[in-house]
């Protein structure tokens, strides 16, 4: 952490590293399909991600202070939504809040964060459902039999949650096979920690490493947000073409332009990169 230009370095808090992870993720470019420093949509711009990261901070502070995860997440989402584009970083916050809780508790490891998410309660699940009232989030229809627990019902679903005694971990487990963020919750944040290793092992500007890791993760598995918004076929095409970038057969910048044009936004993969950046910052990644 020795700076080349400054005279002193102050350590960042857990919540500061969480906020910085949000900012560095969107600073990486190119990240084919995502908003980044050089690409944005008319109604979802770079500046909305800046405001989202600023607004989310009180919720990140709550997670770092050891508040229950669900309410901390809800606070983060409510603050994040305080800009005109609506949902910018919902999934990223769902990744960050347990990581921040684990970090401030001295257990930022796959087993440590696994313990944190398994300690969540029915009240945490209720707060998670309430968070959908603050912002529109693209989600799939619930599986058969789980219609009463459709997240789009918001707090109307809370009595059902309570009668079934479902914790936030249980809720995540029920969608782990269709949602890449939920999959992290039930796997000890496996891909997040993998991303953090890639970031720490990399060299050069952090924003460039974020872009590289994004493409590597994208080539690794289909992005579930693309599955939700388009379909599995498109998500598999995205995966193949990210691999082609890694193989030197496609140009990342051209692919980014095409994906933005086609409104293909691999948002879940971006969420994982945010988590990876947070873990890497906590482990000494120098900016």
């Amino acid at each position: 952490m020795v700076p080349t230009g400054g005279v002193s370095v102050s350590e960042r808090s857990v919540a500061q590293n969480a906020q910085l992870a949000l900012l560095l993720e969107v600073s990486g470019t190119p990240k084919p399909g995502n908003v980044d420093r050089e690409r944005e949509h008319d109604d979802l711009r770079f500046e909305h991600f800046m405001a989202g990261a600023v607004g989310a901070r009180p919720g990140l502070d709550r997670a770092a202070a050891g508040d229950p995860l669900g309410p901390a997440f809800e606070t983060a989402v409510e603050g994040m939504a305080g800009q005109s584009a609506g949902n910018t970083q919902f999934g990223a916050l769902l990744i960050l809040t347990p990581l921040a809780a684990a970090a401030s508790d001295g257990r930022l490891s796959p087993s440590g964060v696994d313990a944190v998410v398994r300690e969540t309660t029915v009240d945490d699940a209720a707060a998670f459902y309430r968070s959908f009232e603050h912002v529109d989030v693209a989600v799939d229809d619930p599986p058969d039999g789980l219609e009463p627990l459709d997240v789009r019902r918001g707090s109307d679903a809370i009595p059902e949650l309570r009668s079934r005694g479902l914790t936030l971990f249980d809720v995540m487990e029920s969608s782990a096979d269709v949602d890449g963020v939920a999959a992290e919750w039930v796997s000890g944040f496996e891909r997040v920690f993998e991303a953090s290793e890639m970031l720490l092992d990399g060299s050069g500007p952090v924003a460039d490493r974020a872009s590289d890791v994004f493409i590597a993760l994208l080539a690794d598995e289909p992005d579930t947000f693309v599955v939700t918004r388009q379909n599995r076929e498109t998500a598999e095409e995205v995966q193949r073409r990210a691999q082609a970038v890694l193989d030197g057969e496609e140009d990342a910048t051209a692919l980014a332009a095409e994906f933005v044009e086609r409104d293909i936004n691999p948002g879940t993969t971006a969420d994982l990169v945010v988590g990876g950046l947070f873990v890497a910052l906590e482990r000494g990644l120098e900016v």
Copy 2:
């Protein structure tokens, strides 16, 4: 403040708006000579500004909480310097701290912030001098007779400050004719409020408005940071060429490339834009 995409909007705090102003300023592009989303220097990158804005937050919180301005500023600078590029936003924080103090006190107006800065004390001046120990800042040699008060002496100059009974306002007043930030301190933040009006009167993405206001301010007066790092002749050339952009005779993007190449960085003008963004956000500028 009604969002088009989100369901609810949470109000940002004064410190959040101050932090967001730092982030939005560097998000504007092109800003000829400055780091922006599309231009950076090898040793001063976009990501350093992200980390600077995150690190500065505790000092902004102190200013908004009504703590004395000097110590709040010193805390902001110390946190801002916690990244490897050193000085990213020193001048911007010197603009923001009194504005944040005025805003949380319900007096964010030229006369209100004028009162805030005139209330500063010798202790505030001492903290300002200490802040130079946290980071290298490009400054001019002091005027004749003021060598004992050279800011580069850091806390070594504090006994001299005390024996002369100089407040932070007095210190700013002594360099108001050579430093555009100090000039704001003694003029009721005239150009900052002017910038805020331009931002509020504009339309379209906030980052684009920030870029437009930057060029307008640059065409208005020579940038004192360019005077310090290069010379007055260069600063006057920068001013003329910014005017040529306004007149449609030069292209802002080409000018940006040239200024970065020549290491011309009109940083004081960027500091004024940060202040203008903060005032505009406090007055309802929607992101």
